[in-house]
C-alpha cells in the first residue's frame, strides 16, 4: 500500500528534474523546449501540493515520508519529509508564487541567449526545489540542505549577469553574509542533534524544549542569528539591497516567498524552542520591530524602485520576526503568505513598468506608467495598497492587524512595540505609495542617460513584448490574491492551530487610520516640490533644504538646548556645530541603509583583506610567514654550521692525507701491466702465500 505522503516527494522532484535536464542539457534543447520545460518544472509543484492540501483539510493533517535512515554509532539519522499544517500552507504559497514568477520569467527572459536562458531556468528551478525541500523537510539535515542550496542558487542568480562586476560582487556579498549567519544555524542544529540524538523535527523540537537553561538560551540565540542572516534583518541586512542586481524575476522569487522569508519560516518552525525562552523571545521581538522600523524608514529615502522594495522586504520580514518574538508564529506565517503575494506582485509589476526605460529601475522610470502599462500599473497599485495595509479591502491589512493586535495584548512591553509598529505601518504606507504617485506624474520629456542614484539592475536582454499573457496572468492572479486574500488570514491562523487575536476597537481604529496618514505623506513628498526635493536630496546632503530648516527648528534646536541645559551651558562652539551636523548625518544614515556597508567594510572586510595581504607578503609581511619560518630557521642553522666548518683543520688534514695517497698511488701503478696473465700469476702467488701462512699457523 503506497503511502499518500509519497506525494511529498513529488513536490520538489519536478523542478529538480528540470534543473538536471537543463543543467546537463543532454538533448541540446531548443529555446521553446527550454521554456516549456522550465514552465513545467515551475508549475508542477503547485499541482502536487493541491492533493496534499486536500488531504490535510480532509483527514488528519500530519504525515511523515521517510527517505532513508542512517545509523551513526549510537544515534540514528532519519531523513524524512513532513506534512503538517505549516508545511502545507507555506509549501502551497511557495509553489504558487514560484509558478507565477517562472511563468512571468518565460516572457521576461525571452530574449536571452539560449545558453543563458538554460542556466537561468535551471537555477530558478533548483532554487524553487530547494525552498520546497526546506519547507517540507521533516529533519534538520534535509532542512539545512534546502537552506544552503538556496544560498548557493542566490549567488548564481544574483550574479546571473556575469560580465557585470557589481552583479558578481552583490552575489558574493549575499552568499558570504548569509553563509556567515548559516554557521550560527548549523551550530544550533548540530547542538540540538547532540541534545536529542535525532535529527527528526518531531523528536528534536520536543527534546529541544526540555534542555537545561544554559544550552537552551545558546541554541535559541544561534537559531535566531541564523534566521536574522537569511532574512536580511539588522545587522545582516546589507546584502539584500545589493542583491537587486539580479534580474527582476530573481528578485521577485528571492524576496517574496523564498530565501529571505526562509528565516522567518525557520523561526516559526523552531518556535517551540525559541518561545520557551522569554529572553530570546524578547530579543527577537526587539530585532524584528527595530528592523521593521529601520527598513521602512530607509525605504522612504530610496530613489530606485527595486531598492525601495528590497528595504520593504527587510521591513516586512521584520514584522514576521516580531510576531514570532511576540509568541504568535501562526500570525507570522499568515503574514508570510500575504507578503509573498503582494511582494512578488510589486516586483513583477515594477519590473514590467520600468523595463525598457533608460532610467533603469529608478523611481522616475515609473512615470507615465498608467498610459504605458495600465494593467501593470493597476496591479502595482493593488500590491502597494496591500503593502500599506489599506483597511478591510486588502489582505495586507488583515495580517498586519493581527500582528498589531498580538502586540497590543502583550502588556506594557507589547504596547511599546505596538506604538513602534504603528509608526512603521505609517512609514510603510509612505514608501508603498511613493512609486504610485511618482508613476502618476507625467513622463519626463527629456530622459537623461545620466542615471542618478544607484541603478543596480541592468537587464541587458530585455525587450518588452507588450500584451503577453505570460506577464499579465501572474499579475492579475497575484493582484487578486493581494486584495482578496484577507478573507483567508483568519482561517490560516485557525488552520495552524491558534486563535486569531481580537484587538480592542480603539487600537484597531488607530491602526486603520495609519495607512491613510502614510498615503497623505507619500502624496506630500511626491507632489509638494519642496518636500520632494528634500527627500531626493537626502541622499547627498550638500546644502540644507527647507525641510532641513524645519527639522532644524523643531528637532535639532530643542535638542541642542536640552544638551546645553544638561551640560550647564558649558558647551563649546565646536560641539554645537557638531550637534547641528548630526541631524544631517541621521537622515543620510537612514537613506543609505544605516551605512552598515561602510561599517562592515571597516570592521570586517578591510581587516580581513589586510590580514590576507599581510600573509601574502604585502604591507611588509613575508609570504606565508608560518610556513616560511621553519624553512628559514633550518637554512640559517645549516648556514651557520657550514660557515663555522668551512676552513677547518679536519679538512686540511684529510686533504694532506689525500695528497700523500695520490703519490703512493703513482708508485703502486707500476705494478699494473694490464696483462691478464700477470694478474693471474699474482693471484696464484698470493693464494700460495696465504696457504703457506695458514700452514705456518698450524705449527705449534
Amino acid at each position: 500500500m503506497l503511502s499518500p505522503y509519497l506525494l511529498l516527494l513529488l513536490v520538489p522532484a519536478p523542478p529538480l528534474a528540470v534543473f538536471l535536464i537543463l543543467g546537463l542539457d543532454p538533448f541540446f534543447l531548443r529555446r521553446k523546449a527550454v521554456q516549456a520545460l522550465a514552465l513545467l518544472g515551475g508549475i508542477a509543484p503547485f499541482f502536487a501540493m493541491l492533493p496534499l492540501l486536500g488531504l490535510c483539510l480532509g483527514t488528519e493533517c500530519y504525515g511523515v515520508m521517510p527517505i532513508f535512515t542512517l545509523v551513526f554509532g549510537q544515534s540514528e539519522v532519519a531523513l524524512a519529509l513532513l506534512l503538517d499544517p505549516m508545511s502545507t500552507l507555506v509549501g502551497l504559497t511557495v509553489a504558487a508564487v514560484g509558478a507565477l514568477v517562472i511563468t512571468y520569467a518565460i516572457d521576461y527572459m525571452s530574449d536571452a541567449r539560449i545558453a543563458d536562458l538554460r542556466r537561468f531556468f535551471a537555477l530558478m528551478n533548483l532554487f524553487l526545489a530547494a525552498m520546497l525541500t526546506m519547507v517540507l523537510a521533516g529533519d534538520t539535515i534535509t532542512f539545512f540542505f534546502g537552506w544552503e542550496l538556496m544560498g548557493l542558487c542566490s549567488f548564481f542568480l544574483i550574479a546571473y549577469n556575469t560580465s557585470l562586476p557589481q552583479a558578481v560582487a552583490a552575489g558574493r556579498k549575499a552568499f558570504i553574509i548569509t553563509r556567515f549567519a548559516d554557521a550560527f544555524l548549523l551550530a544550533g542544529l548540530l547542538l540540538l542533534f547532540l541534545e536529542a540524538n535525532s535529527v527528526r523535527l518531531d523528536v528534536l523540537i520536543p527534546a529541544g524544549t526540555m534542555m537545561t537553561e544554559e544550552r537552551h538560551v545558546v541554541i535559541a540565540l544561534l537559531l535566531l542569528a541564523g534566521a536574522l542572516g537569511k532574512s536580511a534583518q539588522v545587522p545582516f541586512h546589507t546584502w539584500l539591497p545589493s542583491a537587486m542586481a539580479g534580474p527582476t524575476p530573481v528578485s521577485a522569487l528571492l524576496h517574496s516567498a523564498t530565501m529571505v522569508a526562509a528565516g522567518a519560516f525557520m523561526l516559526a518552525r523552531f518556535s517551540p524552542i525559541v518561545m520557551s525562552e522569554p529572553a530570546v523571545q524578547t530579543i527577537a521581538a526587539i530585532f524584528g520591530a527595530g528592523t521593521a522600523a529601520f527598513g521602512a524608514l530607509s525605504a522612504i529615502f530610496q530613489t530606485d524602485v527595486k531598492r525601495l522594495l528590497a528595504y520593504s522586504s527587510i521591513s516586512q520580514i521584520g514584522f514576521m520576526v516580531l510576531a514570532i518574538g511576540l509568541g504568535a508564529p501562526e500570525v507570522a506565517i499568515a503574514h508570510f503568505v500575504v507578503h509573498a503575494m503582494f511582494k512578488s506582485l510589486l516586483f513583477l509589476a515594477a519590473g514590467d513598468i520600468t523595463h525598457g526605460s533608460d532610467l533603469g529601475t529608478s523611481l522616475q522610470a515609473m512615470r507615465g506608467a498608467l498610459r504605458r502599462r495600465p494593467i501593470s500599473f493597476l496591479a502595482y497599485v493593488a500590491g502597494a495598497a496591500s503593502l500599506a495595509g489599506l483597511p478591510i479591502v486588502t489582505a495586507g491589512w488583515w495580517s498586519k492587524e493581527a500582528i498589531l493586535a498580538t502586540a497590543w495584548e502583550g502588556g506594557a512591553f507589547g504596547i511599546a512595540i505596538w506604538v513602534l509598529a504603528l509608526l512603521t505601518a505609517t512609514c510603510t504606507a509612505i514608501y508603498a505609495f511613493r512609486p504610485v504617485f511618482e508613476a502618476l506624474q507625467p513622463e519626463p520629456a527629456h530622459i537623461s542617460h545620466a542615471r542618478r542614484g544607484h541603478p543596480v539592475a541592468l537587464d541587458l536582454h530585455y525587450r518588452p513584448r507588450w500584451g503577453s499573457g505570460f506577464i499579465t496572468l501572474p499579475l492579475v492572479l497575484l493582484a487578486a490574491g493581494s486584495l482578496l486574500g484577507g478573507i483567508i488570514v483568519g482561517p490560516i491562523i485557525r488552520f495552524l492551530g491558534a486563535e486569531a487575536p481580537h484587538p480592542a476597537h480603539l487600537p484597531e481604529l488607530v491602526a486603520a487610520v495609519a495607512p491613510f496618514v502614510g498615503m497623505a505623506g507619500a502624496a506630500a513628498i511626491t507632489f509638494v516640490p519642496a518636500l520632494a526635493a528634500a527627500v531626493a536630496g537626502a541622499r547627498d546632503m550638500r546644502r540644507p533644504t527647507r525641510l532641513d530648516r524645519k527639522f532644524q527648528r523643531w528637532v535639532i534646536e530643542p535638542y541642542v538646548r536640552l544638551v546645553r541645559f544638561l551640560a550647564g551651558n558649558r558647551i563649546g562652539a565646536r560641539a554645537e556645530a557638531e550637534l547641528e551636523l548630526r541631524h544631517v548625518q541621521i537622515v543620510r544614515w537612514l537613506s543609505r541603509g544605516a551605512r552598515m556597508d561602510g561599517i562592515y567594510q571597516a570592521l570586517f572586510v578591510r581587516p580581513f583583506v589586510n590580514i590576507v595581504r599581510w600573509l601574502n607578503g604585502h604591507r611588509g609581511g613575508t609570504v606565508d610567514p608560518v610556513g616560511t619560518f621553519p624553512v628559514s630557521l633550518a637554512l640559517q642553522g645549516t648556514q651557520a654550521l657550514v660557515e663555522r666548518l668551512a676552513h677547518d683543520r679536519f679538512d686540511r688534514f684529510w686533504m694532506r692525507l689525500a695528497n700523500r695517497l695520490v703519490r703512493l698511488w703513482v708508485l703502486v701503478c707500476a705494478i699494473q701491466t694490464g696483462r691478464s696473465r700477470d694478474y693471474a700469476l699474482g693471484a696464484a702467488l698470493g693464494t700460495a702465500a696465504l696457504l703457506v701462512i695458514a700452514w705456518g699457523t698450524t705449527w705449534n
Binding site: 701491466t673 691478464s676 696473465r677 693471474a680 700469476l681
Partner: protein, 102 residues
Amino acid sequence: MSGATFLILLALSGGIFATGFFGLMARRAILFQLISLEMMLAGPALAFLAGGAWHGSQQGQAMFVFIIILAAAEVALGLALYLALRRGADVEDSDTITGLKH
C-alpha cells in the same frame, strides 16, 4: 671409501688444478685460458666431492653444485667478453689487451 681412494682423488684434483694453472700461465689465446680456468674450477670441485664422500656429508655435493653454477656464470661472461673482443678489436692474444690499465 677407503683412505687410499680419498688420497688418490685429492691428488687427482690437485693435478687437475695444477694443469689448469699451467695452461692459464702458458697459453696466450683467450679461449684456451678460459678452458684452463674451467679446469681450475673442476679440480677443487672434485676435492669437495671427495671430502663430502669421506665425511659422509651432503655439503660437499652442495658445494659442487655451487661451483658448477659459478663456472657457468663465469664462462658466460668470459665468452661474451671474448666475442666482444673478437668483433671489436679482432684480438686473440690476451697480452695485447691492456686497455683497462688506463
